[in-house]
Amino acid sequence: MTFNDRIFGVLMIVLAVAYGWGASQFPVPFGGSEAVGPETFPYLLAVVLGLSSLYLIVRPDPDNAWPWSRTGIELVIAVVVLLLYTALLQPLGFIISTTLAVGTLCWRMGASLPKAYVTGAVAGVVVFLIFNYALGLALPLGLLSFLEVG
């Protein structure tokens, strides 16, 4: 099976063409055009990427299997957790969001539920304390901001 490299090669050729076309749309820099304008280097890259992607399509390597089944879902869960962690970092505050994110990741990787969330909470509190007091970097407190010492 050699689909991976072929599909990737096609995608990269599309990228190379789009990138090269993008470069042709650059405005001429102030002061007139020079020997090497802003578009020259991108053109070179587009050509090299296009040619090497073509090679991938013609001579692809054997595929690595993609994790479709359950493992695939676990991966999607992990990415969603990371995105939610990012989204909730400021509203919920560092400690709560870290407890949830690290806890969920530990749990999905095989730790028991209580252990996972305790790990998350301890890690969150410890890192928060180190950063806020030892390193002087303010991490958001969010919902816990009432704890803030004036």
Partner: protein, 508 residues
């Protein structure tokens, strides 16, 4: 003699109490990073860069700390090779061959101590080599014009996969992707390129975000996929009984390994993996039938381990003198230099002499610290090894988040990091190497600048790029770097496979 004077100044920098403290901290963290599964040296150094900024460290202090981390990670890699038969990173692979059998025979403590001594010797030899060679190379590099630099960058990309690399075309694709990302932002003539009018993209893509995402986040995803959360069975460490005689016996192996490793590290395209591989095979040849390689011969631990450490110090030579890194970890160190506003290359030796020589002195001091740390404290590192990855990796991920968040206090960067992580996972699945992507990101602006300079000088004549003998030589080597893997690569790879395949009974 001039060099000696600089080196003394370097020691003055490196021995300043706070620098020494950070060197110690770095050495400790580095050993930890090297020892823990799923945290390669490149990955570990990358995560620590934003933290070094947060601490508001002086450039030389930050660089000294992270160089110690780098040196420490090479030490740490051997711990999991010997105790678990899992190499912490690729170059540590050869250490498994005799280290793990030694541990199985109940000589884990001896294997660890021998490898520490050998690592020390390898690094020491290579650091001395670095002190001798780097100023010469830096002087030579001053004669490089923009065309030569352009060719040199090409050479760096072409040889990055190494002659043992699998598919050079994939290296080229990866390098293009990295260089393309580097063109995002406002260029030197003030033209916006590929910013899509997103304000955050005007200044380009911060390579630290890219590096942390590509390495740390994709590693987490790989661990989840492999369901490796539980970790492996731990080996018990016996009480150390090592005599001076044992140390004397491994000395010749360590010295040979160190010298070979250094050469492999300096040469483009060879790298630490080849250094430790040559170190091992040479030992096997020299010792011949008298040895019992593969069954726990101490010299089989010392040779590759010295080679591995020699190569990692040797790899600093092209990075410091030419600004062209030869490995993933040195690429990350280059990222640190660029973000500290230090332009690596020959001029650094004159303009930032205190920093360069401070770092080199720190490398020497770091080695002593590591030797002292490693023999008595090995028990602590072994304990930490038994922390299962299911707890470790989420925490590492969280630290990566904190580090990136601390750069600009915005969540935009974090989304970007996650995106890079997913991209890194996909690329690794396709066996597209990540290091060229990062190198492309780092070298892109310099490469384009040199191309522009060369063309401005020649008034648009492209032949200027291969007009001098030096430039032609660099082009030829770059070409060889791409072609040789097809010719020599399969043979070398097969040999390395045969060698490692017969290693442990359960090698994976």
């Amino acid at each position: 003699m001039e060099t000696l004077g600089y080196l003394m100044d370097g020691f003055a920098v490196a021995l300043a109490p706070h620098n020494l403290m950070f060197a110690l901290l770095g050495a400790f963290l580095g050993t930890l990073i090297g020892a823990l599964p799923g945290l390669g040296p490149a990955n570990g150094v990358a995560i620590l860069i934003p933290l070094a900024f947060t601490l508001g460290l002086q450039p030389e202090t930050a660089l000294i700390m992270l160089t110690s981390v780098y040196a420490g990670a090479m030490y740490g890699g051997r711990i999991s090779s010997i105790l678990l038969n899992i190499p912490g990173d690729e170059p540590a692979m050869m250490t498994c061959l005799d280290g793990y059998p030694m541990a199985q025979k109940g000589k884990a403590a001896e294997a660890l101590a021998i490898s520490a001594v050998a690592s020390f010797m390898g690094s020491l030899i290579a650091t001395i080599g670095l002190i001798l060679l780097a100023p010469l190379l830096a002087d030579f590099a001053l004669t490089f014009g923009p065309a030569e630099y352009f060719a040199l960058f090409l050479l760096a990309f072409a040889t990055l996969g190494g002659i043992t690399g699998k598919n050079p075309v994939k290296t080229v694709v990866a390098a293009c992707i990295g260089l393309m990302i580097a063109t995002v932002g406002i260029d030197t003539t003030g033209v916006q390129r590929y910013t899509f009018n997103v304000l955050e993209l005007y200044e380009g893509v911060d390579f630290i975000i890219a590096i942390v995402g590509l390495f740390a986040i994709s590693e987490l995803l790989f661990f989840i996929e492999d369901k490796a959360g539980g970790g492996k069975e731990k080996m018990t460490v016996n009480k150390l009984t090592l005599s001076w005689k044992d140390i004397r016996e491994i000395m010749p192996s360590s010295i040979r390994g160190g010298i070979l490793g250094f050469i492999a590290g300096v040469l483009p395209g060879a790298g630490a993996s080849l250094g430790s591989f040559i170190g091992y095979t040479l030992e096997k040849k020299i010792v011949g039938k008298k040895g019992y390689f593969g069954q726990g011969d101490p010299r089989g631990v010392a040779g590759p381990e010295a080679g591995n450490n020699g190569a990692s110090s040797g790899a600093l030579v092209p990075m410091l003198t030419l600004g062209v890194p030869g490995s993933g970890t040195t690429a990350v160190l280059l990222a640190l230099l660029i973000s500290l506003n230090i332009t690596p290359g020959p001029l650094m030796f004159t303009q930032n002499a205190d920093i360069v020589w401070g770092v080199i002195a720190a490398l020497l001091i770091g080695n002593f610290l590591l030797l002292v740390l490693n023999i008595p404290l090995v028990g602590i590192f072994v304990k930490l090894l038994s922390v299962p990855p299911m707890y470790l990796l989420p925490i590492v991920t969280m630290i990566a988040f904190v580090g990136i968040y601390s750069i600009s206090n915005t969540t935009f960067d974090l989304y970007f990091m996650v995106a890079f992580g997913v991209a890194g996972y996909v690329l690794r699945k396709l066996e597209i190497p990540l290091v060229p992507v990062i190198l492309g990101l780092l070298l892109g602006p310099e490469m384009e600048k040199n191309l522009r300079h060369a063309m401005d000088i020649s008034d648009g004549d492209w032949t200027v790029l291969w007009n001098s003998g030096l430039a032609i030589g660099l082009w030829v080597f770059a070409g060889l770097g791409l072609i040789l893997p097809y010719i020599v690569g399969p043979i070398l790879r097969r040999r390395m496979k045969v060698a490692t395949g017969t290693g442990g009974p359960e090698s994976d």
